[in-house]
Structure formats: C-alpha cells, structure tokens
Subunit: 297 residues, 2 copies
C-alpha cells in the first residue's frame, strides 16, 4: 500500500468511525445536556482514530467488512478518550491543553470531567454489548471481556498507576516497559484483536494479529515518546517536552533517541512479519505500522 492510498484508507475509515460515534453518543440536548456536551467535546476533539481504525483493519485482515466491528471500534475510542480526560485531571497529570484545545476539566470543571469520563467508559461497554443484536453474542462477550482486561488494572489503568507512582523517580528499563506495554500497547492490541475476533478470524489468524498488536502497541508508544522530546507546541498540540518537565519516564530518556528509533523500527518489522501469513488483506495494518514510524505529530 503506497503512502497515498494509505492516506485515502485512513480518511475513509475515519469518516465511518466519526459517523458511528455521532450515532452512538447522546445528542447535546439530551438531558442532562452538560455531561453529553462534555463527552462530545473530548470525543470530537480531533483524535486520529488510530484504535478504531486498527479494529476495522483487524476485521478486514480476516476477510470481514467494517460494519460488524464499528460499534466496538467506537467503544474502544470512547475508552481511549475517557482515559485522556481522567489522565489530564489536576489530581493526575494536571494538563491544561490536549491536541491544542483546553482539556475537558478546564472547560467543564473537574466534577463534570470525572463524570464525562465515567460515562464514556460505561457507554463503551454498552455499545459493545448492544452489538450482540447483529453479531454472535458469544464472540461479543469474549471481545468485551478482552477489551475490559486491556483497559483494567492488568492493562491500561495498571500502566497509569505505575506511571503516576514513578513520577519524579528513577525507574528501571523494566518499569518503563511495564508502563508502555500496559498504558498504551494493551488497548492497541485489544483493538486489533477485537476486529479479528468479531470478523470471524480463525484462532491462528487472531494469534498472528495479536502478536502484531503487541509489537505495534509498544512501537506507537516509543514513537509518542520520541515526538514528545522532538516536538513543539504547534506540531503536537500540547506543550512539547511536557513529559520531561514533569520528570515522566520516557523511552528516549532511558535509551537515547537513536536506540529508541531503532527499537520502534524493529518492532514494526516484527509486526509486519507476524502478519505475513494473512496475505494482502493485512496490508492496511502493515501500512499503518510504517506510517507510525514516519509520523511527525
């Protein structure tokens, strides 16, 4: 897949995802309106939709279409968004800006930001479960449990706990990898898996896509860390170097920029190799991996 056709692929899938999110989220005038405005503010704040597109790409890689996976793809985006809203809170990372916009609590206040996050997490599981009207309920239950494990204390929340507990401390390379694999990679991996499972992939295909998800998830976080070190406010939409200012542990801080770039490349190549058995339908996932290595924001 060329750079140009990947761009088209991403734009097309993004339109699908945004339209589905529009349908799944209560309108702003549904009572109580404030919380629905707060939820929509962060969901439609210009995210790249990486996770839902990976879920769709996972379904396509096993020969399925986007339709059956869309509600679950959107649910994972809601989980990602809730985690950003809560991570930005004063009691957590205390960030005022996210993607160039004021963070949720700066606009709606802390109480509403906490509740909007809670509501997005709740609505996410509702959307996954309601999809059982169209897709085999046993697969839906398996996917839901899988996503919940990736989002919980043995996944994303666990990564955030260790990240917060590590602030201002020297941490080992082992702890750094724990934070990255849990805070980011777990949900990336769950996105691809959800797509492959809901798409009816056989166990071998789901396994290959899971292996790719593990490698891509870690690669994405390393690239995020590199961008934070290199970036600037205009490109990144949040204060560049903010991780360093808060003495957050990053991959480049631990291993240096060059080694970080090499490791991200090695991981993406590993993911691409894992997908070889699936042939051309897995091409978009591979292209997404290459794309991430080259992204500048």
């Amino acid at each position: 897949m060329s750079g140009l056709s990947l761009e088209r692929y991403l734009a097309d899938r993004r339109v699908l995802v945004d339209a589905a999110l529009e349908r799944l989220l209560p309108a702003e005038d549904v009572p109580p309106p404030t919380v629905h405005r707060a939820m929509r503010y962060s969901v439609f704040a210009g995210g790249k939709r990486l996770r839902p597109i990976l879920a769709i790409a996972g379904a396509e890689a096993v020969g399925s279409a986007a339709d059956d996976v869309l509600p679950t793809a959107c649910a994972i985006e809601m989980i990602h968004t809730y985690s950003l809203i809560h991570d930005d809170l004063p009691a957590m990372d205390d960030d005022d800006y996210r993607r160039g916009h004021p963070t949720n609590h700066k606009v709606f206040g802390e109480a509403m930001a906490i509740l909007a996050g809670d509501a997005l997490l709740t609505l996410a599981f509702q959307a996954i479960a309601e999809n059982a009207a169209k897709v085999d309920p046993r697969v839906v239950a398996d996917v839901l449990a899988d996503v919940a494990r990736a989002a919980g204390t043995l996944g994303m929340v666990g990564g955030q706990v260790v990240d917060i507990e590590s602030e201002g401390k020297r941490v080992t390379a082992e702890t750094l990898e724990y934070i990255h694999t849990h805070k980011t990679a777990a949900l990336i991996r769950a996105s691809l898996r959800a797509g492959a499972m809901l798409g009816g992939g056989h166990p071998g295909a789901v396994e290959a896509i899971t292996a790719a998800g593990d490698a891509l998830g870690l690669a994405f976080q390393i690239v995020d860390d590199i961008l934070d070190v290199e970036g600037n406010l205009a490109e990144l939409g949040k204060s560049a170097g903010s991780d360093e200012r808060k003495k957050k542990v990053t991959y480049p801080a631990h291993h240096g920029l060059d080694a970080s770039r090499r490791e991200a490349r090695r991981l993406v190549e590993h993911a691409i190799a894992a997908l070889d058995s699936l042939g051309p339908p897995a091409e978009p996932i591979k292209a997404l991996g290459r794309f991430v290595l080259e992204r500048r924001s």
Copy 2:
C-alpha cells in the same frame, strides 16, 4: 418471611456475595498493588450488599439459584462502590468519611481514588461478560447492556450530574424525582432485572420484577433521605445532616418527613403488589422492601 428469617436470608446471601467478590477482585499483592488495595478498601468497607442481594433475590423469584447470577451481582456492587468513591472526591461531594471510615481519596490520594473507581467499573463489566462461559451469552449481553444503561448518563451518572448541578439551588419536585430515580433507583431496578433475566424468567415475570424495582429503588432513596435528616454520626457512619449542610435537595426537605414516610410506604406496598403473581419465590424481595421501611441506618 419473618424479621428473623429475613435476617438469616440476608446474612447467608451476604456470605455468598463477599466470597464471590473476594474471588473476583485481584489480590492486594497483584501488581500494581496500590490500586488493588484501594479497590478492596472500598469494596470491603462494610456495605450492606443490598444490590447484589436484590440480584440474587430476582433470580430466586423466577425459580433459579444464586450461582448463575453471582458474578453479575458482584459486578453491580462494584459499580455501586465506584460511584461512591467518585462521588466522595473533593471535586464532587468532598466527603471525608463514608460508613464511618475515611473515604478512599483520604487514604490513597485523589489520583488513586479516581483510578480505583475506573478500575472497579471496568472490572464490573468484565465480570458480567466472563459469566457467558456458564450462562447463555445472549442473555449476558442483554443484561450487560441493561446494567450499562442504568449506570450511564440516562441513569446513575445522569442523576449525579443533575444532583451536582442542583447544589445550593432551589429545585422543583420534578427535578428531585429525576435525581432520585436516576441516581439510585436505576441501579436498584437493574439489579432485580439482571437476576430475573439471568435466572431465565419469562417476559411477564421480568416485567413484574422491573415494576417492583422501580418502586423499591425510589423508596430506598427516600428512606436514605429520611435517615440523613434523622440520623446521627454513630448510627449512620457519616456526618448526619450532611446533605442539608451542603444544601443538597432531599425528599423530606421538599415534602416534609411525614409525607416522605407515607410515600416510601406507598411505594413498597406497590412493589409488593406487583410481585404477587410470582408467589412465594418472590417473598424475599417483599421482605427486603418491608425491611428497608424499618431500617434505622
């Protein structure tokens, strides 16, 4: 069911629920330990287990046993607990004590309290979904979506949003009823419904139990309000009159104590009548309704 046998019933079911919660929650030494300690601190802080016992009673009322409903019953208790942890946060109700113990954020800090709440909500849905290994996955998906709707912005979170937005304001009787039916009654109703659905109840039975749940949910909240007005620190384990101090709207403040007591009694009688078609298996739900009218803490 006499008062004595209800006491025995509650004690027996409580042992079942506590043992299942013990199995479902990660142990305190599972990494990252802090968040698991924080989750367990609030889950095992002496709650009455009203919601999970109602879920079990809902299953029993349609002729099923507790086993198939236990993980879901515990999940609802986790959702209830997460809502208490988040409601107590400084940005929300700012409470220092709950059931006579320091609130979660007073012990573990705000960041950990937010994350422990997030994790309990996530684990709740995981537990409901994992139950599909034993129970019909289609019913599991239906129950999960139902519980999520009861916990989200059209249910519990919506009630908390309006409650917070009403603080210090004069509100209409209509707004007060909105807060009560959404903040408390929705999850009470979902508990009974979940039990009836997972227990394989036919649609008429589920409908009767839902009607009872609506009435009992509102009755329980009115009694809570009455107790807050009448209570004292020793009996209630939190500062009595705290709702009034924060100018929270309560049923007695709006309608007076006598009318509030009458309304709670009327609702419980309505619930009992709704359950008549189910015969003796519904007796524990009826007894629970009567018990709530008489409770003093």
